[in-house]
Protein backbone atom coordinates (compact mmCIF):
# COMPACT_ATOMS: atom_id res chain seq x y z
CA UNK A 1 0.00 0.00 0.00
CA UNK A 2 2.62 2.47 1.01
CA UNK A 3 5.81 2.87 -0.87
CA UNK A 4 7.79 5.06 1.54
CA UNK A 5 9.04 3.88 4.86
CA UNK A 6 6.23 2.52 6.95
CA UNK A 7 4.00 5.49 7.75
CA UNK A 8 2.60 3.77 10.83
CA UNK A 9 6.10 3.19 12.14
CA UNK A 10 5.91 5.82 14.82
CA UNK A 11 2.37 5.22 15.99
CA UNK A 12 1.73 3.49 19.31
CA UNK A 13 0.26 0.49 17.47
CA UNK A 14 3.30 -0.23 15.28
CA UNK A 15 4.49 -3.77 15.72
CA UNK A 16 1.72 -4.78 18.11
CA UNK A 17 0.26 -8.23 17.78
CA UNK A 18 -3.52 -8.30 17.24
CA UNK A 19 -4.14 -9.53 20.78
CA UNK A 20 -1.58 -7.32 22.52
CA UNK A 21 -3.18 -4.49 24.51
CA UNK A 22 -0.38 -2.01 23.84
CA UNK A 23 -0.36 -0.30 27.22
CA UNK A 24 3.46 -0.15 27.29
CA UNK A 25 3.56 1.50 23.91
CA UNK A 26 1.12 4.16 25.08
CA UNK A 27 3.07 4.78 28.26
CA UNK A 28 6.61 4.67 26.97
CA UNK A 29 6.52 5.56 23.28
CA UNK A 30 6.66 8.98 21.76
CA UNK A 31 7.32 10.93 18.59
CA UNK A 32 7.68 14.53 17.57
CA UNK A 33 4.93 14.80 15.03
CA UNK A 34 1.39 13.48 15.24
CA UNK A 35 -0.11 11.84 12.17
CA UNK A 36 -3.59 10.68 11.23
CA UNK A 37 -3.17 7.51 13.26
CA UNK A 38 -6.66 6.03 12.82
CA UNK A 39 -6.33 6.05 9.03
CA UNK A 40 -2.75 4.77 9.11
CA UNK A 41 -3.69 2.00 11.52
CA UNK A 42 -6.40 0.81 9.19
CA UNK A 43 -4.04 1.00 6.20
CA UNK A 44 -1.44 -0.96 8.11
CA UNK A 45 -3.98 -3.65 8.88
CA UNK A 46 -3.89 -3.04 12.61
CA UNK A 47 -7.65 -2.49 12.71
CA UNK A 48 -10.37 -3.26 10.24
CA UNK A 49 -11.90 0.21 10.42
CA UNK A 50 -11.64 3.36 12.48
CA UNK A 51 -14.31 2.21 14.90
CA UNK A 52 -12.29 -0.90 15.70
CA UNK A 53 -9.17 1.24 15.99
CA UNK A 54 -10.82 3.53 18.53
CA UNK A 55 -12.04 0.53 20.52
CA UNK A 56 -8.50 -0.74 20.83
CA UNK A 57 -7.20 2.73 21.59
CA UNK A 58 -9.72 3.05 24.41
CA UNK A 59 -8.64 -0.20 25.92
CA UNK A 60 -4.92 0.57 25.57
CA UNK A 61 -5.11 4.11 26.96
CA UNK A 62 -7.29 3.01 29.85
CA UNK A 63 -4.90 0.23 30.77
CA UNK A 64 -1.81 2.37 30.41
CA UNK A 65 -3.30 5.17 32.46
CA UNK A 66 -4.55 2.85 35.20
CA UNK A 67 -1.11 1.32 35.50
CA UNK A 68 0.71 4.66 35.46
CA UNK A 69 -1.68 6.11 38.03
CA UNK A 70 -1.02 3.20 40.31
CA UNK A 71 2.74 3.51 39.96
CA UNK A 72 2.79 7.24 40.51
CA UNK A 73 0.42 7.11 43.44
CA UNK A 74 2.42 4.34 45.01
CA UNK A 75 5.31 6.76 45.22
CA UNK A 76 3.17 8.84 47.55
CA UNK A 77 3.21 6.12 50.18
CA UNK A 78 6.81 7.16 50.77
CA UNK A 79 5.64 10.69 51.63
CA UNK A 80 3.29 9.29 54.21
CA UNK A 81 5.94 6.99 55.58
CA UNK A 82 8.43 9.80 56.15
CA UNK A 83 5.77 12.14 57.51
CA UNK A 84 4.54 9.70 60.13
CA UNK A 85 8.07 8.87 61.21
CA UNK A 86 8.90 12.56 61.50
CA UNK A 87 5.70 13.09 63.44
CA UNK A 88 6.61 10.38 65.94
CA UNK A 89 10.15 11.76 66.28
CA UNK A 90 8.89 15.29 66.91
CA UNK A 91 6.37 14.12 69.47
CA UNK A 92 8.85 11.92 71.32
CA UNK A 93 11.49 14.62 71.37
CA UNK A 94 8.97 17.23 72.47
CA UNK A 95 7.88 15.03 75.35
CA UNK A 96 11.41 14.32 76.46
CA UNK A 97 12.39 17.95 76.37
CA UNK A 98 9.15 18.94 78.09
CA UNK A 99 10.08 16.67 80.98
CA UNK A 100 13.51 18.18 81.24
CA UNK A 101 12.00 21.63 81.06
CA UNK A 102 9.43 20.92 83.77
CA UNK A 103 12.15 19.69 86.07
CA UNK A 104 14.16 22.85 85.50
CA UNK A 105 11.32 25.32 85.53
CA UNK A 106 9.92 23.72 88.67
CA UNK A 107 12.87 25.15 90.57
CA UNK A 108 11.74 28.74 89.93
CA UNK A 109 8.14 28.50 88.86
CA UNK A 110 5.06 26.97 90.42
CA UNK A 111 5.63 23.88 88.32
CA UNK A 112 3.60 21.80 85.97
CA UNK A 113 4.19 19.13 83.41
CA UNK A 114 3.92 18.13 79.81
CA UNK A 115 3.57 20.00 76.57
CA UNK A 116 0.83 22.24 77.93
CA UNK A 117 3.17 23.51 80.63
CA UNK A 118 5.88 24.09 78.03
CA UNK A 119 3.41 26.16 76.01
CA UNK A 120 2.59 28.28 79.03
CA UNK A 121 6.26 28.84 79.76
CA UNK A 122 6.94 29.66 76.13
CA UNK A 123 4.30 32.34 76.34
CA UNK A 124 5.30 34.01 79.57
CA UNK A 125 8.70 32.94 80.81
CA UNK A 126 10.57 35.63 78.94
CA UNK A 127 13.92 36.39 80.49
CA UNK A 128 14.18 33.04 82.26
CA UNK A 129 17.16 30.97 81.18
CA UNK A 130 14.86 28.18 79.96
CA UNK A 131 12.58 30.41 77.87
CA UNK A 132 14.29 29.38 74.63
CA UNK A 133 13.94 25.71 75.48
CA UNK A 134 10.25 26.21 76.23
CA UNK A 135 9.71 27.85 72.86
CA UNK A 136 11.44 25.01 71.09
CA UNK A 137 9.30 22.42 72.85
CA UNK A 138 6.17 24.32 71.89
CA UNK A 139 7.40 24.57 68.30
CA UNK A 140 8.19 20.88 68.11
CA UNK A 141 4.75 20.02 69.42
CA UNK A 142 3.19 22.33 66.85
CA UNK A 143 5.25 20.70 64.11
CA UNK A 144 4.07 17.27 65.24
CA UNK A 145 0.48 18.48 64.95
CA UNK A 146 1.14 19.88 61.50
CA UNK A 147 2.67 16.58 60.37
CA UNK A 148 -0.26 14.71 61.81
CA UNK A 149 -2.73 16.73 59.78
CA UNK A 150 -0.64 16.05 56.67
CA UNK A 151 -0.78 12.33 57.45
CA UNK A 152 -4.52 12.57 58.01
CA UNK A 153 -5.18 14.14 54.63
CA UNK A 154 -2.64 12.21 52.59
CA UNK A 155 -2.99 8.64 53.84
CA UNK A 156 -6.62 8.24 52.71
CA UNK A 157 -5.49 9.20 49.18
CA UNK A 158 -2.69 6.66 49.18
CA UNK A 159 -4.55 3.82 50.89
CA UNK A 160 -8.27 4.56 51.08
CA UNK A 161 -9.45 1.19 52.37
CA UNK A 162 -6.65 0.77 54.85
CA UNK A 163 -7.26 4.28 56.20
CA UNK A 164 -10.98 3.73 56.50
CA UNK A 165 -10.41 0.57 58.50
CA UNK A 166 -7.45 1.59 60.63
CA UNK A 167 -7.74 5.36 60.73
CA UNK A 168 -5.20 7.42 58.80
CA UNK A 169 -2.51 7.59 61.49
CA UNK A 170 -2.46 3.87 62.25
CA UNK A 171 -2.60 3.16 58.51
CA UNK A 172 0.44 5.39 58.03
CA UNK A 173 2.27 3.61 60.87
CA UNK A 174 1.64 0.27 59.23
CA UNK A 175 2.91 1.61 55.89
CA UNK A 176 5.95 2.96 57.67
CA UNK A 177 6.69 -0.29 59.52
CA UNK A 178 6.31 -2.35 56.37
CA UNK A 179 8.32 0.14 54.31
CA UNK A 180 5.57 1.02 51.85
CA UNK A 181 2.17 0.03 50.49
CA UNK A 182 3.48 -2.64 48.16
CA UNK A 183 5.47 -4.43 50.85
CA UNK A 184 2.53 -4.16 53.23
CA UNK A 185 0.21 -5.62 50.60
CA UNK A 186 2.53 -8.60 50.24
CA UNK A 187 2.67 -9.38 53.93
CA UNK A 188 0.52 -12.13 55.38
CA UNK A 189 -1.96 -10.98 57.96
CA UNK A 190 -0.03 -12.72 60.74
CA UNK A 191 2.89 -10.38 60.08
CA UNK A 192 0.65 -7.33 60.00
CA UNK A 193 -0.80 -8.45 63.32
CA UNK A 194 2.59 -8.11 65.04
CA UNK A 195 4.16 -5.23 63.08
CA UNK A 196 5.67 -2.99 65.72
CA UNK A 197 6.13 -5.81 68.23
CA UNK A 198 9.40 -7.08 66.81
CA UNK A 199 11.22 -7.18 70.15
CA UNK A 200 8.57 -9.38 71.67
CA UNK A 201 8.33 -11.48 68.55
CA UNK A 202 12.00 -12.27 68.36
CA UNK A 203 12.15 -12.93 72.09
CA UNK A 204 9.40 -15.43 71.46
CA UNK A 205 11.21 -16.97 68.53
CA UNK A 206 14.33 -17.36 70.63
CA UNK A 207 12.16 -19.42 72.88
CA UNK A 208 11.82 -17.53 76.11
CA UNK A 209 8.67 -15.49 75.78
CA UNK A 210 5.04 -15.91 74.84
CA UNK A 211 4.11 -14.90 71.32
CA UNK A 212 2.92 -11.31 70.96
CA UNK A 213 -0.76 -10.92 70.17
CA UNK A 214 -0.50 -7.55 68.53
CA UNK A 215 1.88 -4.81 67.46
CA UNK A 216 0.86 -1.24 66.66
CA UNK A 217 -2.66 -2.37 65.85
CA UNK A 218 -3.13 -2.42 69.61
CA UNK A 219 -4.06 1.24 69.33
CA UNK A 220 -7.10 0.26 67.27
CA UNK A 221 -10.37 0.25 69.11
CA UNK A 222 -11.14 -3.24 67.85
CA UNK A 223 -8.25 -4.57 69.91
CA UNK A 224 -8.13 -2.18 72.82
CA UNK A 225 -11.87 -2.25 73.28
CA UNK A 226 -11.97 -6.03 73.59
CA UNK A 227 -11.39 -7.80 76.92
CA UNK A 228 -7.88 -9.18 77.40
CA UNK A 229 -8.83 -12.86 76.90
CA UNK A 230 -10.21 -12.16 73.46
CA UNK A 231 -7.67 -9.64 72.24
CA UNK A 232 -5.70 -12.26 70.36
CA UNK A 233 -8.78 -13.15 68.35
CA UNK A 234 -9.72 -9.53 67.83
CA UNK A 235 -6.19 -8.65 66.71
CA UNK A 236 -6.18 -11.56 64.29
CA UNK A 237 -9.55 -10.59 62.83
CA UNK A 238 -8.48 -6.97 62.46
CA UNK A 239 -5.13 -7.89 60.89
CA UNK A 240 -6.93 -10.13 58.41
CA UNK A 241 -9.13 -7.28 57.23
CA UNK A 242 -6.20 -4.84 57.18
CA UNK A 243 -4.23 -7.22 54.98
CA UNK A 244 -7.13 -7.41 52.54
CA UNK A 245 -7.57 -3.64 52.60
CA UNK A 246 -3.87 -3.08 51.85
CA UNK A 247 -4.03 -5.51 48.94
CA UNK A 248 -7.09 -3.81 47.45
CA UNK A 249 -5.43 -0.42 47.85
CA UNK A 250 -2.28 -1.59 46.16
CA UNK A 251 -3.62 -3.81 43.41
CA UNK A 252 -6.95 -2.30 42.53
CA UNK A 253 -7.50 1.03 44.27
CA UNK A 254 -11.29 0.97 44.48
CA UNK A 255 -13.11 1.62 47.65
CA UNK A 256 -14.74 -1.39 49.35
CA UNK A 257 -16.84 -0.06 52.19
CA UNK A 258 -18.16 -3.54 52.99
CA UNK A 259 -14.87 -4.41 54.72
CA UNK A 260 -15.82 -2.26 57.70
CA UNK A 261 -19.12 -4.08 58.10
CA UNK A 262 -17.42 -7.46 57.91
CA UNK A 263 -14.97 -6.48 60.60
CA UNK A 264 -17.76 -5.17 62.81
CA UNK A 265 -19.67 -8.45 62.45
CA UNK A 266 -16.63 -10.49 63.30
CA UNK A 267 -15.87 -8.36 66.35
CA UNK A 268 -19.44 -8.66 67.56
CA UNK A 269 -19.06 -12.45 67.46
CA UNK A 270 -15.77 -12.34 69.33
CA UNK A 271 -17.06 -9.98 71.96
CA UNK A 272 -20.17 -12.07 72.47
CA UNK A 273 -17.90 -14.69 74.03
CA UNK A 274 -17.61 -12.46 77.07
CA UNK A 275 -21.34 -12.90 77.57
CA UNK A 276 -21.48 -16.65 77.62
CA UNK A 277 -18.83 -17.16 80.24
CA UNK A 278 -18.85 -20.89 79.65
CA UNK A 279 -16.74 -20.43 76.56
CA UNK A 280 -13.50 -20.10 78.44
CA UNK A 281 -9.98 -20.63 77.23
CA UNK A 282 -9.68 -19.34 73.77
CA UNK A 283 -6.07 -20.21 73.29
CA UNK A 284 -5.55 -19.58 69.66
CA UNK A 285 -3.90 -16.24 69.80
CA UNK A 286 -0.28 -15.89 68.82
CA UNK A 287 0.57 -15.91 65.19
CA UNK A 288 3.86 -17.54 65.23
CA UNK A 289 3.99 -20.81 66.90
CA UNK A 290 5.42 -23.56 64.81
CA UNK A 291 7.73 -21.23 62.98
CA UNK A 292 11.38 -22.03 62.95
CA UNK A 293 14.16 -19.87 64.19
CA UNK A 294 14.84 -18.25 60.88
CA UNK A 295 13.75 -14.94 62.32
CA UNK A 296 15.97 -12.73 60.21
CA UNK A 297 18.70 -10.98 62.07
CA UNK A 298 16.81 -10.61 65.24
CA UNK A 299 18.58 -7.61 66.71
CA UNK A 300 15.30 -5.88 65.91
CA UNK A 301 16.29 -2.51 64.70
CA UNK A 302 13.66 0.12 64.79
CA UNK A 303 12.97 0.25 61.13
CA UNK A 304 10.38 -2.38 60.98
CA UNK A 305 10.63 -6.09 61.00
CA UNK A 306 13.81 -6.52 59.08
CA UNK A 307 12.13 -5.10 56.08
CA UNK A 308 10.98 -7.20 53.24
CA UNK A 309 12.57 -10.47 54.06
CA UNK A 310 10.47 -11.67 56.93
CA UNK A 311 7.59 -13.12 55.07
CA UNK A 312 8.37 -16.48 56.49
CA UNK A 313 9.08 -15.22 59.94
CA UNK A 314 6.08 -14.45 62.03
CA UNK A 315 3.31 -15.69 59.93
CA UNK A 316 2.55 -19.24 59.79
CA UNK A 317 -0.88 -17.78 60.22
CA UNK A 318 -2.50 -19.41 57.29
CA UNK A 319 -6.19 -19.83 56.89
CA UNK A 320 -7.64 -20.59 60.22
CA UNK A 321 -10.88 -20.88 61.95
CA UNK A 322 -11.32 -17.18 62.31
CA UNK A 323 -11.82 -16.78 58.64
CA UNK A 324 -10.75 -14.10 56.28
CA UNK A 325 -7.15 -14.23 57.29
CA UNK A 326 -5.29 -15.62 54.39
CA UNK A 327 -7.75 -14.84 51.66
CA UNK A 328 -7.36 -12.16 49.12
CA UNK A 329 -10.60 -10.78 47.73
Amino acid sequence: MTDETDPAGEGWFAGLAPDEPGAEAIAEGGTETPRPWPRLAVEAGFATDEGAYYDRLHEATTRATRRAVREREAADDQQVKHAVRAMDDCRRTANELAERLAEWAGTVDGGGSGIEYARELAADADGEPFAGLARRVADLAAEADRLESFVETRTPEVAPNLSALAGPVLAARLLSLAGGLETLAKKPSGTIQVLGAEDALFAHLRGHAPSPKHGVIFTHEAVRGTRAEDRGSAARALAGKLAIAARIDHYSGDRRPELEGELADRLATIRARADDSSAAGDTDDGPATGSTDDGPAAGSTDDGPAAGDTDDGPATGGPNADGGIGDVE
Binding site: E10, G11, W12, A25, I26, G29, G30, T31, E32, T33, P34, R35, P36, W37, P38, Y54, D55, L57, H58, T61, T62, A64, T65, R66, A68, V69, R72, E73, E157, G253
Partner: protein, 211 residues
Protein backbone atom coordinates in the same frame (compact mmCIF):
# COMPACT_ATOMS: atom_id res chain seq x y z
CA UNK B 1 -22.09 31.97 12.30
CA UNK B 2 -23.99 31.94 15.51
CA UNK B 3 -23.45 30.91 19.04
CA UNK B 4 -25.88 28.04 18.83
CA UNK B 5 -25.19 25.13 21.09
CA UNK B 6 -23.56 22.07 19.55
CA UNK B 7 -25.76 19.08 18.81
CA UNK B 8 -25.92 17.02 21.97
CA UNK B 9 -25.92 20.04 24.27
CA UNK B 10 -29.28 21.50 25.18
CA UNK B 11 -30.82 23.95 27.58
CA UNK B 12 -33.23 21.93 29.63
CA UNK B 13 -35.06 22.34 32.86
CA UNK B 14 -33.23 20.12 35.28
CA UNK B 15 -33.97 20.19 38.97
CA UNK B 16 -36.30 23.17 38.62
CA UNK B 17 -34.03 25.47 36.65
CA UNK B 18 -32.99 25.82 33.02
CA UNK B 19 -29.44 24.62 32.57
CA UNK B 20 -27.02 23.32 29.99
CA UNK B 21 -27.17 19.56 29.80
CA UNK B 22 -25.65 16.62 27.92
CA UNK B 23 -26.59 12.97 27.71
CA UNK B 24 -24.34 10.49 29.50
CA UNK B 25 -23.51 8.66 32.66
CA UNK B 26 -23.47 11.10 35.63
CA UNK B 27 -20.03 11.57 37.14
CA UNK B 28 -19.93 14.12 39.91
CA UNK B 29 -23.33 14.03 41.53
CA UNK B 30 -24.80 16.58 39.11
CA UNK B 31 -28.59 16.83 38.88
CA UNK B 32 -30.15 14.77 36.13
CA UNK B 33 -33.38 14.55 34.20
CA UNK B 34 -33.76 11.17 32.61
CA UNK B 35 -30.61 10.63 30.60
CA UNK B 36 -29.75 14.34 30.58
CA UNK B 37 -27.36 15.63 33.18
CA UNK B 38 -26.77 19.26 34.06
CA UNK B 39 -23.52 20.92 33.07
CA UNK B 40 -22.57 23.37 35.77
CA UNK B 41 -20.80 26.43 34.30
CA UNK B 42 -19.39 27.32 37.72
CA UNK B 43 -17.46 24.06 37.75
CA UNK B 44 -16.45 24.03 34.12
CA UNK B 45 -14.73 26.74 32.12
CA UNK B 46 -15.94 25.38 28.82
CA UNK B 47 -19.44 25.22 30.30
CA UNK B 48 -19.11 28.88 31.22
CA UNK B 49 -17.95 29.73 27.69
CA UNK B 50 -21.06 28.08 26.24
CA UNK B 51 -23.29 29.64 28.87
CA UNK B 52 -21.88 33.08 28.04
CA UNK B 53 -22.56 32.54 24.34
CA UNK B 54 -18.96 32.46 23.10
CA UNK B 55 -18.39 31.15 19.58
CA UNK B 56 -16.85 27.79 20.34
CA UNK B 57 -17.67 26.51 16.83
CA UNK B 58 -18.58 23.14 18.30
CA UNK B 59 -21.32 21.46 16.30
CA UNK B 60 -21.12 18.01 17.82
CA UNK B 61 -19.08 14.96 16.83
CA UNK B 62 -15.70 16.74 16.63
CA UNK B 63 -12.37 15.15 17.41
CA UNK B 64 -11.05 16.88 20.51
CA UNK B 65 -7.78 17.12 22.37
CA UNK B 66 -8.49 18.16 25.95
CA UNK B 67 -5.48 19.40 27.92
CA UNK B 68 -5.82 19.48 31.69
CA UNK B 69 -8.69 17.05 32.02
CA UNK B 70 -8.33 16.80 35.82
CA UNK B 71 -10.90 14.43 37.27
CA UNK B 72 -12.97 14.62 34.11
CA UNK B 73 -15.81 16.95 35.08
CA UNK B 74 -15.74 18.97 31.88
CA UNK B 75 -14.29 16.32 29.63
CA UNK B 76 -17.18 14.02 30.49
CA UNK B 77 -19.58 16.54 28.92
CA UNK B 78 -17.28 17.03 25.94
CA UNK B 79 -17.18 13.29 25.34
CA UNK B 80 -20.98 13.22 25.57
CA UNK B 81 -21.46 15.52 22.56
CA UNK B 82 -18.14 15.32 20.66
CA UNK B 83 -16.48 12.47 18.81
CA UNK B 84 -13.16 10.87 19.76
CA UNK B 85 -11.79 12.82 22.72
CA UNK B 86 -8.22 12.63 23.99
CA UNK B 87 -7.96 13.66 27.65
CA UNK B 88 -4.50 14.60 28.90
CA UNK B 89 -3.95 14.95 32.64
CA UNK B 90 -0.67 15.07 34.51
CA UNK B 91 -1.63 14.38 38.15
CA UNK B 92 -2.27 10.79 39.15
CA UNK B 93 -4.97 11.36 41.75
CA UNK B 94 -7.46 13.15 39.47
CA UNK B 95 -6.50 10.80 36.64
CA UNK B 96 -7.88 7.97 38.74
CA UNK B 97 -11.31 9.65 38.67
CA UNK B 98 -10.87 10.37 34.99
CA UNK B 99 -10.56 6.62 34.45
CA UNK B 100 -14.00 6.00 35.88
CA UNK B 101 -15.41 8.77 33.67
CA UNK B 102 -13.80 7.07 30.66
CA UNK B 103 -15.13 3.65 31.64
CA UNK B 104 -18.63 4.47 30.39
CA UNK B 105 -17.42 6.55 27.40
CA UNK B 106 -15.80 4.36 24.74
CA UNK B 107 -14.55 7.33 22.69
CA UNK B 108 -12.81 9.04 25.59
CA UNK B 109 -9.10 8.24 25.79
CA UNK B 110 -7.42 9.05 29.10
CA UNK B 111 -3.69 9.81 29.03
CA UNK B 112 -1.49 10.41 32.06
CA UNK B 113 0.88 12.81 30.32
CA UNK B 114 2.39 16.25 30.73
CA UNK B 115 0.72 18.75 28.38
CA UNK B 116 3.99 20.68 28.22
CA UNK B 117 5.59 17.69 26.48
CA UNK B 118 3.47 16.76 23.46
CA UNK B 119 6.24 14.54 22.10
CA UNK B 120 5.28 12.04 24.83
CA UNK B 121 1.79 11.58 23.39
CA UNK B 122 2.07 12.51 19.69
CA UNK B 123 2.32 8.78 18.94
CA UNK B 124 -1.21 8.37 20.33
CA UNK B 125 -3.13 11.60 19.68
CA UNK B 126 -3.99 11.90 16.00
CA UNK B 127 -3.09 14.85 13.82
CA UNK B 128 -5.77 17.24 12.68
CA UNK B 129 -8.13 17.38 15.65
CA UNK B 130 -11.01 19.82 15.27
CA UNK B 131 -10.61 21.44 18.65
CA UNK B 132 -8.13 21.79 21.47
CA UNK B 133 -9.67 22.62 24.81
CA UNK B 134 -7.05 23.79 27.27
CA UNK B 135 -7.49 24.29 30.98
CA UNK B 136 -4.14 23.68 32.61
CA UNK B 137 -3.32 25.31 35.91
CA UNK B 138 0.42 25.70 35.47
CA UNK B 139 2.80 28.44 34.53
CA UNK B 140 3.47 28.80 30.83
CA UNK B 141 -0.13 28.36 29.67
CA UNK B 142 0.62 30.14 26.39
CA UNK B 143 3.54 27.84 25.70
CA UNK B 144 1.34 24.80 26.23
CA UNK B 145 -1.05 26.14 23.58
CA UNK B 146 1.82 26.82 21.17
CA UNK B 147 3.43 23.40 21.71
CA UNK B 148 0.15 21.62 21.08
CA UNK B 149 -0.61 23.55 17.90
CA UNK B 150 0.84 20.58 16.00
CA UNK B 151 -2.30 18.52 16.71
CA UNK B 152 -4.81 21.08 15.49
CA UNK B 153 -6.35 21.01 12.00
CA UNK B 154 -5.76 24.20 10.03
CA UNK B 155 -9.43 25.05 10.34
CA UNK B 156 -9.63 23.89 13.95
CA UNK B 157 -10.23 25.93 17.07
CA UNK B 158 -8.33 26.53 20.25
CA UNK B 159 -10.59 27.06 23.26
CA UNK B 160 -8.39 28.26 26.06
CA UNK B 161 -9.15 29.14 29.66
CA UNK B 162 -6.31 31.15 31.17
CA UNK B 163 -6.03 31.20 34.92
CA UNK B 164 -4.21 34.36 35.97
CA UNK B 165 -3.29 33.04 39.39
CA UNK B 166 -1.51 30.00 37.97
CA UNK B 167 0.74 32.25 35.96
CA UNK B 168 1.62 34.67 38.74
CA UNK B 169 -0.40 35.10 41.91
CA UNK B 170 0.97 38.53 42.65
CA UNK B 171 0.37 40.25 39.33
CA UNK B 172 -2.69 42.04 38.12
CA UNK B 173 -4.76 39.49 36.11
CA UNK B 174 -5.25 41.97 33.25
CA UNK B 175 -1.49 42.26 32.78
CA UNK B 176 -1.09 38.49 32.81
CA UNK B 177 -3.84 38.13 30.19
CA UNK B 178 -2.17 40.72 27.92
CA UNK B 179 1.12 38.90 28.07
CA UNK B 180 -0.43 35.54 27.31
CA UNK B 181 -2.53 36.73 24.39
CA UNK B 182 0.56 38.45 22.93
CA UNK B 183 2.49 35.22 23.19
CA UNK B 184 -0.33 33.24 21.57
CA UNK B 185 -0.32 35.58 18.57
CA UNK B 186 2.85 33.88 17.33
CA UNK B 187 0.79 30.97 16.04
CA UNK B 188 -2.85 31.76 16.63
CA UNK B 189 -5.28 34.39 15.42
CA UNK B 190 -7.53 35.44 18.28
CA UNK B 191 -11.22 35.45 17.45
CA UNK B 192 -12.79 36.23 20.76
CA UNK B 193 -11.81 36.85 24.34
CA UNK B 194 -13.72 37.54 27.50
CA UNK B 195 -13.49 37.04 31.21
CA UNK B 196 -15.48 34.25 32.78
CA UNK B 197 -17.06 36.24 35.63
CA UNK B 198 -19.39 35.51 37.35
CA UNK B 199 -18.66 31.81 36.93
CA UNK B 200 -14.90 31.88 37.43
CA UNK B 201 -12.90 34.70 39.01
CA UNK B 202 -9.71 35.90 37.28
CA UNK B 203 -10.07 33.62 34.29
CA UNK B 204 -9.88 34.68 30.68
CA UNK B 205 -11.45 32.60 27.94
CA UNK B 206 -9.94 32.77 24.48
CA UNK B 207 -11.20 31.40 21.18
CA UNK B 208 -8.50 31.27 18.51
CA UNK B 209 -7.68 29.62 15.23
CA UNK B 210 -4.28 28.61 13.87
CA UNK B 211 -2.49 31.17 11.70
Amino acid sequence: MSSELPAGVERRVVDGRERLATRGEPVYGEPTDGEWRAWNPARSKLGAMLELGMETAFEGGERVLYLGAASGTTVSHVADFAGPTYAVEFAPRPARDLLSVAASRPRLFPLLKDARRPETYAHVVEAGVDAIVQDVATRGQARVALENRRFLADDGRLLLAVKARSEDVAREPAAVFEEITDELAAEYALLERRRLEPYHADHLAVVAEPR
